[in-house]
């Protein structure tokens, strides 16, 4: 019984912070966790951060697993599934990845997966600006995911969160929305329950 959970979201949305929280929570609960982290640049930072928190990860760099590194992602999934036999694989794509494309890549990877869930993080502090500057791309990043998590809610007032929810509903009307602060741990337990990863 293997599950895959993808933590997507734009550059700087807080994916690595949430990855560390989820990885630690799941490990604490006795789950065998494998982490795949992807960076668009030649040199990764997130893999080193994740390891500093005592978690092991496979880092894929110099491209994006939703397009240029799709083959590498499929190979990595196959190797991890066969050799490590995890209960759950957490995937942190680059901040430029499209989650729906990664879901297609997972589906065609020939890896037996019982459940595949995805979450898109939206940075509450920058959401309006990102929506304004990169609307088409932003829309595609939150399309087709199971949960959209509005992150960094500790940095903005309540009424701003409501406005961001309205923006999200305009782009993805049927989406399930969570409010979290990955840094402070706020709402993370509820997100874990919503994703059904425990």
């Amino acid at each position: 019984m293997m599950m895959i959970c993808q933590l997507a979201g734009f550059l700087g949305a807080g994916k690595t912070t949430l990855m560390v929280r989820l990885g630690k929570e799941l490990s604490k609960a006795g789950k065998r966790v494998a982490i795949i982290v992807n960076e668009v640049g030649e040199v990764g930072v997130d893999g080193a951060v994740i390891e500093a928190y005592g978690l092991r990860s496979v880092e894929l760099t110099e491209g994006c697993i939703c397009c240029t590194l799709s083959g590498s992602l499929q190979n990595t999934l196959r190797i991890i599934a066969k050799e490590f036999k995890p209960d759950i694989i957490l995937i942190e794509p680059t901040g430029l990845a499209l989650p729906s494309k990664i879901n297609t890549i997972i589906r065609t990877s020939m890896v037996e997966v019982d459940r595949n869930v995805s979450v898109a993080l939206v940075d509450a502090y920058r959401a309006e600006r990102l929506f304004k500057e990169t609307k088409a791309f932003f829309s595609r990043q939150i399309a087709g995911v199971d949960v959209i998590a509005i992150n960094k809610v500790d940095l903005v007032p309540e009424e701003k969160i409501k406005e961001i929810e309205d923006l999200i509903r305009e782009l993805n009307p049927g989406s399930r929305i969570a409010h979290i602060s990955a840094k402070e741990g706020e709402g993370v337990r509820e997100l874990i329950e919503a994703l059904g990863v425990l």
Partner: protein, 146 residues
């Protein structure tokens, strides 16, 4: 039909560097994190040229006494720094730097990062791991600064 490239789709550029360093004299973590915070802000200033930063500039500094994690996503918010080194004196270590931003080319981010690192060489002897490609093999060479 050509495969869609999400980086092109977002009109984004990116660049990353791996650096080893030795300090010139005693440097405390606080000074090192301030110095690296200034590097991240300098990269942002160079790549945005008065526009808002739509991206992420980050660094992870690893030393035998702990690490410093630095993140910049908004210049008004400033650089977020996590420091586990505390009061220890830093003598050597390594750091990974990465930046990705919308509306910027890879080469511009590379140039900004290298320029932003130049002032650091007054306090640190830094060795940049150059990352070139030869077919399927990666070749790492080294360039020293300071």
């Amino acid at each position: 039909m050509a495969e869609e490239d999400s980086k092109e789709l977002a009109d984004a550029g990116s660049f990353g560097l791996k650096v080893d360093f030795e300090t010139k004299g005693n440097i405390h973590a606080k000074e090192l994190s301030t110095m690296m915070g200034a590097v991240l802000l300098e990269v942002a200033e160079r790549i945005t040229e008065d526009r808002d930063l739509i991206g992420h500039i980050k660094a992870f500094v690893k030393t035998p006494s702990g690490y410093i994690k630095l993140n910049l996503v908004d210049t008004e918010l400033g650089v977020e720094i996590t420091d586990t080194i505390g009061d220890a004196v830093v003598k050597s270590g390594s750091m990974n730097l990465m930046a990705a931003a919308v509306g910027t080319a890879d080469r511009d981010i590379e140039s900004a990062m290298r320029k932003a690192l130049e002032p650091v060489s007054k306090k640190l002897k830094i060795t940049i791991h150059e990352h070139d490609h030869d077919g399927a093999r990666n070749i790492d060479s080294m360039i020293s600064l300071g």
